[in-house]
Amino acid sequence: MPIKFASVAAAFALLLGAGAVSADEGGHAGWQRQADNEIGNLPSLQRGARNFMAYCSGCHSLRFMRYSRLAEDLKIPDDQRDQFLVPASKKFTDYLVSSMPTKDAAEWFGRAPPDLSLVARSRGSDWIFNFLTSFYADPASRQTGVNNLQLPGTAMPHVLASVQGVQNAVWRNEEQPGPDGKPIATRVFEKFEPGVVGSMAPEQYDEFVRDTVNFLQYVGDPTQLEREGLGIWVVLFLLMFTGIAYMLKKEYWKDVR
């Protein structure tokens, strides 16, 4: 009986680990990094909110997030909320909707800037981190002058160019098997090289992006911390209940021989 219990528990723990890690992971290419953001880091979230309002909210909405909710969760005082977060034309309970008209945006950029409320859940924090850090100069093939390793052919210009600068991508030629098996010369990414310099050093910029990603993860799942906090108590209570119920069961099962 204890062996059975242990094996069931072990099997479940294995499944849990496998499930939690595997299905989403898609496999990281060599150059891709992890976001490593800490959702519980409040100053980081506040900086991320500031970054988003300053650089992203012009085009991107967070249409499921209210200013009031944001200020409450991120502990931003009312006066600062009204001064820095809420635009003059909006109420503090309004949703964060960008003022860029969608149809025009689709015309200008080829694709309307998507709403980012859930991007951290549909694409993942690592994807966003790599997206924002892997813009590189590509005036030859892109109208925006930049391309992106995480999302090649992206319609988004490098909005953060003033902060990161614009790096250059270094490629090397490799022979790789083509669809018919014969080797084809393909271009393989090797590394980034500094190009135009921005206002931040690379490590600083990484932190900047990390904060922004952290903020977007919060927006995608605002109750994550509350959920996990409550979960500890629920699991402890259930373990206690199970223990008591088990003692009751054992007591009665003494009858069975």
């Binding site: 009031s68 009312d78 008591i244 009858d255 021989r257």
Partner: protein
């Protein structure tokens, strides 16, 4: 092999231990059930959307004529705002004997509206336009002397459903099925011409 030890000595049943364990399990289970019910029941409370929609309503008084009433909505309730004339105010003193609650002791209004005019400022009357009998919308009968309402009618409101009558401060007349005066919601002023329904005066902005 298995233990079919039917012939082995059956140990004494410890009844008190069993009773204790049953109580402990049932008790913990009951606590768990109640705690589990909490989120489900709490989900019925007004959502953030409801609370956002229930924010204070701002009304511009500058366009109102004296003697005019405008209607508004606040927290899904109809609000009557009357710009009272001096004559309307004068009419309030003459009929205390005919009112059920002239001093508004039984009725529902903020402390600052517990006066004869039932208002913060005498020239502006703010009421919830719901008859305190069974909830119909009282109609305006502002003309004094209107015999169709009653003898010596000073002006006020008349509820068409069951005939309750209220004066120009929302106070209920004897003979009405309603037993208390019309309700006054919390409100305050910002400057001379802005009326804010839902916020008490000198309270934090956005606190109601």
């Amino acid at each position: 092999m298995s233990d079919h030890a039917a012939d082995a000595a059956v140990p004494e049943v410890d009844e008190s231990r069993r009773k204790f364990l049953i109580a402990a399990t049932a008790g913990t289970g009951a606590v768990g059930a109640v705690l589990t019910a909490v989120p489900f029941l709490a989900s019925w409370n007004p959502s953030e959307s409801a609370r956002a929609a229930g924010l204070p309503t701002e009304i511009d008084l500058s366009k109102m004529e004296p003697g005019q009433m405008t209607t508004h909505f606040w927290r899904k309730k109809q609000i009557y705002v009357v710009k009272r004339t001096p004559e309307m105010l004068a009419s309030l003193t003459s009929h205390d004997g005919e009112l059920k609650d002239p001093k508004s002791e039984e009725s529902d209004q903020p402390a600052y509206a517990r006066n004869e005019a039932r208002s913060l400022r005498p020239d502006v009357l703010v009421l919830i336009g719901t008859c305190t009998h069974l909830g119909c919308l009282p109609k305006t009968r502002f003309t004094p002397g209107d015999a169709t309402v009653m003898a010596n009618w000073p002006g006020g409101f008349f509820c068409p459903c069951h005939g309750s009558k209220f004066d120009l401060a929302g106070r209920v007349f004897e003979g009405s099925p309603a037993s208390v005066n019309l309700v006054v919601p919390p409100y305050s002023f910002e400057g001379d011409n802005k009326l804010i329904i839902g916020v008490d005066p000198a309270a934090q902005k956005g606190a109601a």
